[in-house]
Amino acid sequence: MQRVLSERPRVAWFEVHSENLFADGGALHAAIEHVRADYPLSLHGVGLSLGSADTFDDEHLATLCALVQRFEPGLVSDHICWGAIGGIHLNDLLPLPFTREALDLIVTRVQQVQDALGREFLVENVSSYLTFQHAEMSEWEFVAELIRRSGCGLLLDVNNVYVNSVNHGFDAHAYLRAMPRAAVREIHLGGFIRKTDLAVPLLIDSHSRPVDAEVWALYAGALDLFGPVPTLIEWDQDIPELEVLLAEAGRAEALLNGHRTHIA
């Protein structure tokens, strides 16, 4: 963060986990004030738990609303998942069953968030390591229907689509084609790790590695479908030097520019 503040790298925007700004103050608040003066900001949450069956944390939502007022981010997002039940928070992005019941609930929650924020909210597809027997639709049907019914935007994580396509055996390109094109506001890329000690391949979304070649290829396919959508590379574990991050970002930028030229 120090190097970002002193060297002002040529990047289009910054994204911060909303919850890291939930305290009353501190060094990150001060740093983001500086970043915000020069760059657009995206607030990306991990703790809203949109899909909790019992309660919704109104205090969490109120804190997010206050942050949005203070920092005026260009984008605000969280995940299509749940994390809390019975007053206990598991602090993870947990898989929802793709049932009509879960869909109805999360549609209502997203509408509630958009009403509270008074603006469009983005939801992101997550990586998952299991699915449920009683699913009534595919993941891509669930995601597309959530967006259509709630009117929210999509933060499309291309790495998560790829990870799930391997973990659950589906066609990643078919998933992308099912997404509502006009709703894709942002793309995430990231690195995964491959678990080798199990009977079947299992990819774990780790944000600790360079983007995989297969994911770069899928990203190119996503740009064909959705156009030059603002793209962020998530790398928040085992973070390398800034140069390595900027090189990864540069590769995405080159692909994006190719599409801008193509469209022009």
Partner: protein, 249 residues
């Protein structure tokens, strides 16, 4: 479960499974080449890892004092007894000091809970609200002025030399610990991006505690004088001002 679980039943079953509380959710998980329980375990491991790493980041001195293996065992037990309740992990771990005080295996390290409490207060100080310090010149007329101590100021009174132990635990290898056995009364505050700490005499500690509680200079002076008849309020206030710890409001 004979019929498919409702979302509420599924989430309760999932939480029970990953918190080792017993659950029959696995029968509704698609195995696809793996035991359904193993798939749930991937989540169980990830959740435990996230929460234990959070405690590790908050309590580095405790970990240095007890070692990695003991810390992991304590953190594992803590997260099952005091589950996280918020989506914001900065709020997780506030009862770790009290929990360590109840751990029989830690009883020999009587100072450990206070070291943990000091680390929790360091985090609270680091994340406290910002406030504009008063310029010294404006303090000539304290009677009409609206002021308070900076929100990052925290106090910890200990019967153990808690700050000395913390500095020893977080110092590079090879530091020697010299203890005279006396307790330490510590004040913490945010100085730039860092948390600063120093040991106070008992009267100054009582003065600052009263200032935080009451914002009343007379009450603070009385509290300090009850401990030390020679306590000098002006010296204490000048020191607070110098460190920019008296704020408007």
């Amino acid at each position: 479960m004979v019929t498919a679980p409702t979302l509420l039943e599924l989430q309760r079953g999932f939480a029970n499974a990953v918190l080792d509380r017993g659950s029959d959710l696995a029968q509704w998980v698609v195995g696809a080449g793996l035991a359904p329980a193993a798939r749930l375990q991937v989540y169980g491991n990830a959740i435990a890892s996230t929460q234990i790493e959070t405690l590790r980041a908050t309590y580095p001195a405790v970990q240095a004092l007890v070692g990695e293996a003991f810390f992991e065992a304590a953190a594992t037990r803590y997260r099952l007894h005091h589950p996280s309740t918020r989506g914001n992990l900065q709020a997780f771990g506030g009862a770790f000091a009290a929990f360590l005080a109840t751990m029989p295996e830690a009883a020999a390290l009587a100072y450990l809970p206070d070291v943990a409490q000091l680390e929790w207060l360091r985090q609270q100080s680091a994340l406290a609200a910002e406030a504009s310090p008063l310029a010294p010149a404006t303090l000539d007329d304290t009677t009409s002025l609206s002021w308070r101590l900076h929100p990052s100021v925290r106090l910890l009174g200990s019967t153990h030399p808690v700050l000395t132990i913390w500095r020893y635990a977080t110092a590079p290898e090879g530091e020697r610990l010299q203890l005279d056995g006396r307790g330490e009364q510590v004040v913490l505050w945010r100085d730039g991006g860092e948390v600063a700490m120093t040991v106070l005499d008992a009267a100054s500690f009582a003065c600052i505690a009263a200032l935080i509680d009451t914002r009343d200079l007379e009450a603070a002076y009385a509290a300090a004088r009850a401990i030390d008849g020679a306590f000098d309020l002006a010296v204490c206030l000048r020191s607070l001002l110098k460190h920019q710890l008296i704020a408007a409001g």
